[in-house]
Amino acid sequence: MMRLPSFRFHRPQNLAEAARLLAASPQTTRLVAGGTDLWPNLKRRHQQAEDVVSLALVRELHGVERRADGSFAIGAMTTLSAVAADRPLAAEHPALSRAVRSISSPVLQNMGTLGGNLCLDTRCTYYNQNEEWRRSIGYCKKEVGETCWVAPGSPRCWAISASDSAPMLCALGASVRLVSASGERTIPLTALYQDDGIAYLTKRPDEILTQVFVPAAADRHSAFWKLRRRGSIDFGVLSVAGTIALDAQRRVRSAQLFLGCVASFPTPCTEAMESLQGQIFDEEHITRAAVLARKAASPLSNTDFLPQWRSKMVEPYTEAVLREIAGLPQQRLAPAHAF
């Protein structure tokens, strides 16, 4: 039986108290939401905590709210199931529901939260292993080791951003509210992340992510595709999230394309997005954008499948996402998914 180490456990009932508990010693305190990331990490001992602060009883963090401007405010503690099942939200942003329903399995979605998903630790097959296993490789850079075993010559950690809601919410232009004992700020979600496997969040350790704001869809259409070995349980090895707004002439007014699982942050496909801008949204431009999307990704060998193949798969998957948005028939075999 894998067992948790012992820690002091706190269950604050409001946000202020949670922020205060966290501020006491942010380096050795961890927040827990659904625990589906934190508990395995503590059991395997690649994360440590002297204090754990549970947000379970903090009421104001739960629930989805539609605001007057048509945007949504989603509490960080809203479970993934609740996010996916929220009718107004699903009607407005079906691709977000899809992304959320692609997270692990339906049972896990009853536990995992949206906030936890956005703050999910980066992953790597040299890191998400038991203590004894990691001892046998002498640990790696993300812990106390010297070397990154994925790219031994490299000065940085390449662990993967595996959150499925993150690329979708980035494409949708979401922002997040961060609250600490010393104040609060709201930043675009894209600004929460940086391409570093260790310091993958720009959030300070004493900040609590409280809300996710998702603008109304208006004339935008989105799609989300995820590649993974099995239709359930598994993390992705590639996800593609796209949001496109067209003008009356079917010209692309704005294009947002993000990849998940190919780098340490939700990866913007800058060239592909630019290539679509102002163009007719047709097969030709879709194909061109898909080719360019591949350039944004350089997956390494730290998850399932061969990185070369994962890289190759960016193209058909981006194409599938864009075709779905354009309402074109699919040419690809859609993987069996639990959504």
Binding site: M2, Q13, G35, S54
Partner: protein, 185 residues
């Protein structure tokens, strides 16, 4: 409960299968550990303790969750259901009879978790389609059955809960009828 739960040990009153029990346990112990080790409810099994197999599935407030990733202290104040609570008196739940009759439990190790996830599904939708059942149970691995008998059993139990008396097709128990040309040959 706004003060920190004292470090080390917790005392909590858990409502499991409708029965309240007050137990003391290490605060860092999961619901899985407390069910099995403090309450003696060993019907709930475990296969990874990392959220990767579904074996430890129990219901909390009617929803299936992985008991290996829930702290027992956090279950206080919620209704926990385990496989031990499925039967009514000495009467098996329709899911249980269907699983037993069809051999949907082979080694039986994944069975408690799958029964609980199925119970939650059928409570919501007793007429769930085969695809819906497969999706709802997709986080529960079984190495023995190939899932067929489980699907048939959940469907059967669903029909029973809908008041139908419609056991699975003969094919489920005897195999497909041999194609005509083979019978002749």
């Amino acid at each position: 409960m706004s003060s920190p739960v004292p470090p080390g040990t917790s005392v909590a009153t858990l409502r499991v299968n409708g029965e309240e029990r007050t137990v003391a346990f290490p605060t860092h112990h999961t619901l899985l550990e407390v069910l099995r080790e403090e309450l003696g409810l060993t019907g709930t099994k475990h296969g990874c303790e990392l959220g990767e197999c579904g074996t430890c599935t129990v219901l909390v407030d009617g929803k299936p969750v992985l008991s290996c990733l829930v702290l027992a202290v956090e279950a206080e104040g919620h209704a926990v259901e385990t496989v031990e609570g499925l039967q009514q008196g000495n009467q098996l739940h329709p899911l249980q009879s269907a699983f037993a009759d069809l051999g949907a439990a082979q080694c039986g190790y994944c069975t408690p978790g799958i029964l609980m996830a199925s119970k939650a599904l059928l409570a919501e939708n007793p007429a769930a389609s085969r695809e819906q059942i497969a999706v709802a149970l997709s986080g529960n691995l079984c190495r023995c059955t190939g899932y067929q008998k489980i699907l048939e059993a959940v469907e059967w139990a669903g029909r029973t809960l809908c008041g139908e008396n419609a056991p699975p097709a003969r094919e489920c128990s005897f195999g497909a009828p041999l194609p005509e040309e083979v019978q002749r040959g």
